[in-house]
Symmetry: C2
Subunit: 337 residues, 2 copies
């Protein structure tokens, strides 16, 4: 507990800390969003603890400035982050916030639970995300009860942007060395990776072009293959191999959903892969409706509103259906300012 | 050409340089193996050029010592190595051999072509290898004409030890998070990777055991997953998931074979994966025989004899059927000494 006196009810901060960007909302106890801030990566795994702490403090400071408030007026900070469940303090963030002058309560929540509560106030349902990675959660009684996949590029992320981009690279290699069918993805992948054209065969029986592609890909980090995913969406109109990749990705995401599915509930949907209409998301939705005919899909752009809702809950001001609608509108207004 | 005088015909050296070990044979022009040497990695990609050069010189020196000959008596060195075709000198190996006192001819050959000629003297046929990686070649008129796969763990090596081990890890992850069927591979993989047992669920809905497995695997290099391949062979008697992995690996290897297949010819088979009798190699052979009913499979342990045959060919002393049998026996005798 914070021992200071407040002129009015102390304020609350919700943080949606991602690998690319971090977003903070400054909230009153009745769910009004007074300020919004945005900064770089707030994930200690991808950015390092030092930089992640600075990003979070930066986003909070922006939200405070936007509302002309001081950090001493806050008594609850909740940070939603990948790889975290409902949990207490962690030194790196306690320290970063202390340096900025904050000594109130701090708690962590799952980024996927924040995504879920960005879409709904219901206490039982599902969230699925497919961006660079892919994961599904089941929410029960407002808590994250089970996770499927989210196992990373080497062990899972089935149906994710990485998975799709990796399949594009494999399709190009298999086309070029005769194991797979001809596909428009081959030229698209060679172009995208700027492999220098060369029309001769090397001494060990591989074309110089294929060798160039293989070398280029191994020079990068595997996850960078996610960059090739848009090529598959672009080619799907004309190319059967591309279509098969998207169809399979939709099936795999539905399979991950099936692994956590236990009964009715809204399906909150996030990430760039499922945001695109077409074969992939159509396949996913069709297969989910095979299990749950009345399934409601709620697309969301990020976990900002949900992180705010989780922060309010932590501060003892849980958000009901009507409150969720007000919170959503208020956060949108603060972001637009 | 070497300008020195020789008391007798100059000698020839064939080198089979692998990522793990390097083997050298010292040969007379009529295909008698006078000496044999063995050392560490002779592949500049895996060991670095310095160490690879030292390994090769070491293996050659051992072969010379075994035969009580000097390096000045050699006039042809041929090194068979992954990623090389029939090609000329490369600085790192020219230099390493020069330091040891060698200034004769040097040439490179494909390690897969050496594998092929370890099994046969025929000038048209196929070689397939499945060890940590996997690749297939077509040999035509004694030259390597086409390669399929060999694209490495991220882009190919389908049906290889890596591929099988990776599938074991995926099967364990999918079993544990509910996406896949129960399999004996799960406990086997957890045991092999010494994941500490823990029977609780983390805040974000993943079991501590699964989290431990995922973290352990990401701490290592992806290719180390090849270590898990033996677990799949061991479990296949009792476990359907393991059996499906081996069946699929056999199909993928047959598919790579089909991509280079153009007509009859011996099929030389190398690598630890195809060396094991059972479902995988049975599936591979059955599918190859579907294409070529009379296919002859010739298992070989390594490329030593083939590297020797390629060295003899370079020196103008090509090996016929009878010569190949004599060379094989002579190399075996030198190795046994």
């Amino acid at each position: 507990m914070n021992m200071r006196d407040f002129d009015h009810d102390p304020l609350i901060v919700g943080i949606d800390a991602g690998g690319t960007s971090t977003r903070a909302t400054l909230l009153t106890r009745d769910g009004e969003c007074l300020g919004y801030g945005r900064s770089g990566s707030g994930n200690p795994t991808s950015a390092g603890a030092q930089l992640a702490g600075e990003s979070i403090v930066d986003a909070v400071s922006q939200a405070l400035r936007a509302a002309r408030r001081g950090i001493g007026e806050i008594d609850h900070v909740v940070a939603a982050m990948a790889g975290h469940g409902a949990g207490g303090e962690e030194r790196w963030l306690v320290d970063a916030l202390a340096v900025a002058g904050y000594d109130g309560a701090l708690a962590f929540e799952s980024d996927l639970l924040a995504l879920y509560f960005s879409g709904t106030a219901e206490q039982d349902g599902y969230a699925i995300v497919s961006g660079t990675g892919a994961a599904v959660i089941r929410v029960s009684g407002g808590r994250l009860e089970a996770t499927t996949d989210g196992a990373g590029w080497l062990l899972g992320d089935q149906g994710s942007g990485f998975w799709i981009g990796h399949r594009a690279a494999l399709a190009a290699v298999e086309d070029m060395d005769g194991r797979g069918p001809a596909t428009a993805l081959t030229e698209a992948v060679l172009d995208a990776l700027q492999v220098v054209p060369a029309d001769f065969t090397l001494g060990y029986g591989r074309s110089a072009k294929l060798e160039g592609l293989i070398r280029t890909i191994y020079l990068g980090r595997p996850v960078e293959l996610a960059r090739l995913a848009p090529l598959v969406f672009a080619a799907a109109g004309e190319d059967e191999v591309a279509r098969d990749i998207l169809l399979r990705a939709g099936e795999l995401l539905a399979q991950s959903f099936a692994a956590v599915h236990r009964g009715p509930g809204p399906v909150v949907v996030g990430g760039s892969v499922l945001a695109q209409d077409g074969l992939l998301s159509g396949t996913f939705r069709r297969l989910v409706r095979d299990r749950e005919p009345g399934a409601r899909f709620i697309p969301v752009a990020d976990g900002v509103v949900g992180a705010a809702a989780l922060a309010l809950r932590r501060a003892g001001a849980a958000v009901d259906e009507a409150g969720h609608a007000r919170l959503t509108a208020s956060v949108a207004a603060a972001r637009a300012r």
